[in-house]
């Protein structure tokens, strides 16, 4: 369910109402209700894809049970379970890409045998629920958790509607205990915090990200028609757009979870205040970077190995991250870019900031630029287009003029940006101030009413899409 859609506005209050109408003594009944709701909402996208979700759930559920019951052959079961769990993802997401690359390679030696590409849409959230399910099997293998014996509980963990579309990729150790018994009937503070998160997430999405998106789409879709300054501005706006879009979604997902009494994994921690690319990945899409650390980086040897082996492990981890984001060379280059910068930072000992405030500001700025240029590869459809945008930015022959959209669009962009920047600065550097702001009811409510009003007045409410929903 897309959170900025009308469907959400209608469905969520109903889900909330019916969920809390089930008396607390029927804990299982509440889980069954959420399971049914999650599947209905998933079926709403494309009914047949619910079978894939069910299939991945079934495979990983049985694999985990088998691993636990037969430790002797646990490794074989793990490998089979992971491969089977990954098949739908590989098939739907990467078939066309692999097919095209193989065809191109074979063409070079004169073999021209082409398989037809798939015209099927990729099942929504497949990258997220597949990684969540595989992570669970791995955790059982590593004895971090016990295998879940109740299929309904496990199925709800995988299909839980707030996070199935775009994460966070939750750990079984966090969610399954909450599903089983460790959540109260109704937690007032949690519910209020959840609503606040939904409100702020919605603001980030519709007021900031989607407004920036109007400018970004205009410029980057026809970048050849714009100056380098405009292309640079569009790339910076895209950097803000993707943050507002994805962090906004994650906040809403976590907020919805909280209103229902659940704690989900934190996914963003003001990433553009990172002092290095390494630090950036401790703040950006935290649930994915944790997953990659736990199930790719550490199994490869992590940092407890030789220096060069460690660099290789970082490189491979971010190559996987790039591939996970999409079947396109642009994502692979984006992943490699991030991996290489982290290796360089490690070589130079620049992962943290040991300088004063000026040094910190410089490091934040340079990290922002590094990340910003990487996003160009992420945004553009081909490597040629990405290089085209970058070469325009550095083309000194072009005039230094800036394309400014209508005055209202520019005003809303600046307004949204200022508000988000103000909150992020306070959260990052003056957290105590935020607590003081939040104490008087009139100030708290005033702020929330202002945000809601801005959503209604300045939000781009026609766009029911999230960038990360494509992954």
């Amino acid at each position: 369910m897309i959170y900025n859609s009308f469907l959400f506005l209608v469905c969520f209050p109903l889900i909330f109402l019916f969920y809390y109408l089930i008396p607390s003594r029927y804990k299982k009944g509440r889980n069954y209700f959420l399971l049914v709701v999650s599947y209905i909402l998933y079926i709403n996208w494309e009914p047949v894809y619910a079978l894939i979700l069910l299939c991945v759930t079934g495979i990983t559920f049985l694999s985990a049970l088998k691993i636990e019951s037969n430790r002797k052959h646990a490794k074989q079961t793990l490998i089979i379970g992971v491969i089977l769990g990954l098949i739908p993802l590989l098939f739907y997401k990467y078939f066309n890409f692999i097919n095209e690359q193989v065809y191109t390679l074979l063409s070079l030696i004169g073999l021209r045998y082409e398989l037809h590409g798939l015209n099927w849409a990729v099942p929504v959230g497949i990258s997220f629920f597949t990684f969540q399910a595989i992570g669970y099997v791995w955790d059982v293998y590593y004895k971090r958790i016990e295998a879940e014996r109740d299929f309904a509980t496990y199925a709800l963990f995988i299909s839980f509607f707030p996070s199935i579309l775009s994460g966070p990729i939750n750990k079984a150790s966090l969610v399954i205990p909450q599903l089983k018994n460790l959540r109260p009937y109704f937690d007032y503070n949690k519910a209020v915090e959840g609503l606040r998160m939904i409100l702020w997430g919605m603001f980030m999405k519709v007021v900031v990200a989607d407004r920036m998106g109007l400018y970004v789409d205009t410029v980057l879709s026809n970048y050849m028609n714009y100056t380098g300054v405009t292309c640079l501005a569009a790339s910076v706006f895209y950097t803000i757009q993707i943050y507002g879009d994805f962090a906004g979604y994650s906040l809403m997902a976590i907020g919805v979870g909280k209103t229902l009494g659940f704690e989900l994994t934190e996914n963003f921690r003001r990433p553009y205040f990172a002092v290095s690319v390494t630090d950036f990945w401790h703040r950006w899409h935290i649930s994915l970077s944790t997953w990659l650390k736990d199930y790719v980086y550490i199994p490869l040897g992590g940092s407890r190995c030789s220096k060069w082996r460690n660099y290789w492990n970082i490189f491979v981890t971010f190559l996987v991250s790039g591939i996970w984001h999409g079947a396109n060379w642009t994502f692979i280059v984006w992943g490699i870019w991030h991996g290489l910068f982290q290796i360089i930072e490690k070589m130079l000992g620049q992962q943290k900031c040991n300088y004063g405030w000026l040094g910190k500001c410089i490091k934040i700025f340079t990290t922002f630029l590094m990340v910003n240029f990487a996003w160009i590869f992420f945004r553009m459809p081909t490597l040629g287009d990405a290089c085209g945008v970058i070469s325009r930015i550095f083309d000194t022959n072009l005039p230094m003029t800036f394309f400014s959209d209508s005055i209202t669009t520019m005003f809303f962009m600046v307004l949204g940006l200022m508000i988000i920047l103000f909150k992020e600065i306070i959260d990052e550097f003056y957290p105590a101030l935020m607590e003081r702001f939040a104490r008087p009811v009139w100030l708290r409510w005033g702020g929330q009413i202002l945000i809601l009003s801005l959503i209604l007045l300045a939000g781009v409410l026609g766009s029911d899409q999230f960038i990360y929903a494509n992954f």
Binding site: Y188, L398, L456, L461
Partner: protein, 299 residues
Amino acid sequence: MKRFVIRLLSFLAIVLVLDRGFGLAMKYLQNHAKGGYVGHHNYILHYANEDILIFGSSRAIHHYNPQIIEDCLGMSCYNCGQDGNGIVLFYGWWQMIKERYQPKMIIYDVNPSFDLLLGEDNSKYLGWLRSEYDNEDVKKVIEDIDPTEKCKMLSMMYCYNSKFLQNIIDYVHPLFKISSNGYLPLMGEMDKMKVRERKEKTKYVFDSQKLKFLELLIKETKERGIKLIFVASPIWYGKTNAQFEPLCDLCNKQGIPFYNFSNDTSYVHHNEFFKDGNHLNAHGANAFTSDFIRCIEQQ
């Protein structure tokens, strides 16, 4: 839970009161706009009484000089063009205009992206219509595009979504004055930065909803004896006829004239007539308006 529900309802009640207050203030500002796009919108819906009305996107507002049309045809003319809009908005506006008076002629500048081709979402054309939701016919158009608008329109702030700043500016100090006949000429030379040869598609997907509104506009103007003329004004790049196919079929069937200047060699790639790849400058607009009027006169 009780405390949560009470607080939530109190919060929503405050928002509701503010929403109504804001809506009323916006309505006042809109109705008293001194100029700009809001003033233009008010004039078209509530005061226009010209013999000829020109409908269309920015390519209409910048391409047709009503003064030339008035001088040649001896009829009064107003340019109703609106940036980034097409048949969805103009069919809605037409619903309000026809209640008030009957023009003699409507010139419709067709832009395939806004009037014929399937785009992402037609609700983006509803911006200027939402504030007129009280009108039953406009309401039907809005709900036809998106049935959920019925619920969304409960919020008056939503009615002015993305428009409130424009309302304030056009009430306090409009940044530009649209001339008394609606025309907004583009001054200056061709900005070569903004043109690039485009690869035209070979296959187009058309929007049945847009075509339905075009058909309704043809039907309603025909019933009232209003002369409707479709025009595709010049474009620097030139355009393939394939993009206009369903409109050509409609016009042939209904006996409506359609003048296509989009591939006219006296304009295509002639930098002196253009401001950018899509828009004529004032010099180009004057030349085109004269050429177009000659075509009408010859008929």
